[in-house]
Symmetry: C2
Subunit: 340 residues, 2 copies
Amino acid sequence: MSTDIENRQFRLARRPSGLPEREDFDLTTEAVGPVGEGEVHVRIDYISLDPAMRGWMSSGKSYIEPVGIGEVMRAFTAGTVVESRHDDFAEGDHVTGLLGAQTHAVVSGDQLNKVDTSIVDLPVYIGALGMPGMTAYFGTLDVGEVSEGDVVLVSAASGAVGSLVGQIAKQQGASRVIGIAGGPEKCRYVVDELGFDAAIDYKAEEINDAVRRECPDGIDMFFDNVGGEILDAALANLRVHARVVICGAISQYNVTGHVGDTGYAPKNYLSLLVNRARMEGFIILDYIDRYHEAYPSMAEWIASGKLSHKEDIETGFDRFVEVLRMLYTGENFGKLVLKV
Amino acid sequence: MSTDIENRQFRLARRPSGLPEREDFDLTTEAVGPVGEGEVHVRIDYISLDPAMRGWMSSGKSYIEPVGIGEVMRAFTAGTVVESRHDDFAEGDHVTGLLGAQTHAVVSGDQLNKVDTSIVDLPVYIGALGMPGMTAYFGTLDVGEVSEGDVVLVSAASGAVGSLVGQIAKQQGASRVIGIAGGPEKCRYVVDELGFDAAIDYKAEEINDAVRRECPDGIDMFFDNVGGEILDAALANLRVHARVVICGAISQYNVTGHVGDTGYAPKNYLSLLVNRARMEGFIILDYIDRYHEAYPSMAEWIASGKLSHKEDIETGFDRFVEVLRMLYTGENFGKLVLKV
């Protein structure tokens, strides 16, 4: 069976320069291939849009091979099993996996995770319980080592990762959690919905003054998704033995197209010396073997409503590139997901 | 007694702008005060010149209070007990302590360490067995976490700290140790005397090309005393899970006079993200309670000749400022010490 079903795919046509454009992708159609022994045919229901995708489109040394020209764009997805020749999966099961920007996939069952949508909705498994949730959990606790009484600053605080970082820090006993976001609506959300102690609107305020005002005794942990001047403002206000967690640098990804080839250099880096502080990058893919450590706490916090999460669900497979661009222009609000 | 002895002192007259000048200090003379109960009168024989002294002269937030205007300049010293009213010290004992840029000091015995000059000469106790030695030991092993097979890069490799870092890394089983130094004489010393695998002459070579050539598979630990373009070249060549130890930034101290207010910002910092690497500053004063962990290994390595060390001993108390400046102009060769 399966072969009369059409699979539509966004394939990388060329490496973007700056912000990705529609012309950087080809929209192709092919028949879904036959399902071999041990394989599963998945109808993709949701495609996750993540800041890291910009890096995957660029050539050059990175933590993962770039997507090849002509290949289906790499993406996290959640879907429904259409046909299974793998013992662990049956028709109708919900699954997640790195299945790419396409409407269907036939893959080995070993590449899929079965998820229980009676507890939380399917899109949450690519959000608060997916890569963004795991990123927030390990970034805050393992790399950022947040402990009781800490002052925590988070950039992109209304985003998929940042929103969870602040809430996890609060669960861990942080004394004060400040979020940086763009615009009054996002700032209100960060304080009123997520329970941060304060928010800084980087579009309306001089960032150095605002960080100094909101963190008068300095910062113990800064979780950075943004880079640029925001990173410098945090560096200038570190406490002794502070941790700066470099999760991303979304302000910089589209400057040259290369992660690690930034347009902005942090002039206050010697604050690391004066404050015996540490700045450390991490990649969530390194933690896949440890996800099981995070699931019990995260699932409990989400189920009990202690962790608020918001999905920004856009609809229409054909809008993939348009929706992807929203990540880098700050238009999305919450975890950005494309409903196929 | 004591009061007929003259004490000569370099006192900070004003905060230097850029490289310290003679006019930034007053040379004063006063009688040595009476020795109270529990106190010791020390004749200072050697004054240590250390890069950190530039930061101590500047106002502004740092890891230690700045030297006040009119105060004796802070400095590590080694000397001989002239008179003691403390049970642990007797006339003729050799001691070290933070006694300042002066010829005599009367201090509480609790501020002094007695040292055994039958094992190594007195100046070594403010060098390889003093602050520079402890800095190299804890920076390499505790912060830098060097382990067997590591590729290690060290800036200011012929200096008091850097020369020991490379040798300690070798003792720890590093597979390749590369030093950066200025000029052919220092580079020869780094390879021939200290046993580094290679040296890069930053005055003669383009630093990026040279680091790439000498570390073709990347760097596991970079120990930085210099900052600026050298730091950026190292960042561009990190291995996964690399450690960048920020011990100092001597290229930057005299730009503005403030540590943490650097003239050069490292544009390759996102290499920390791609390589899940860590950049961490440390201050040796935080490790004073752990010096006892380092002494047995360091003393054994020095006594057995496994750690080569070189003191650059300049003579004449009056030359204090002139000799201090040699640190920042790269004129010294080995641990810079002023013989009083």
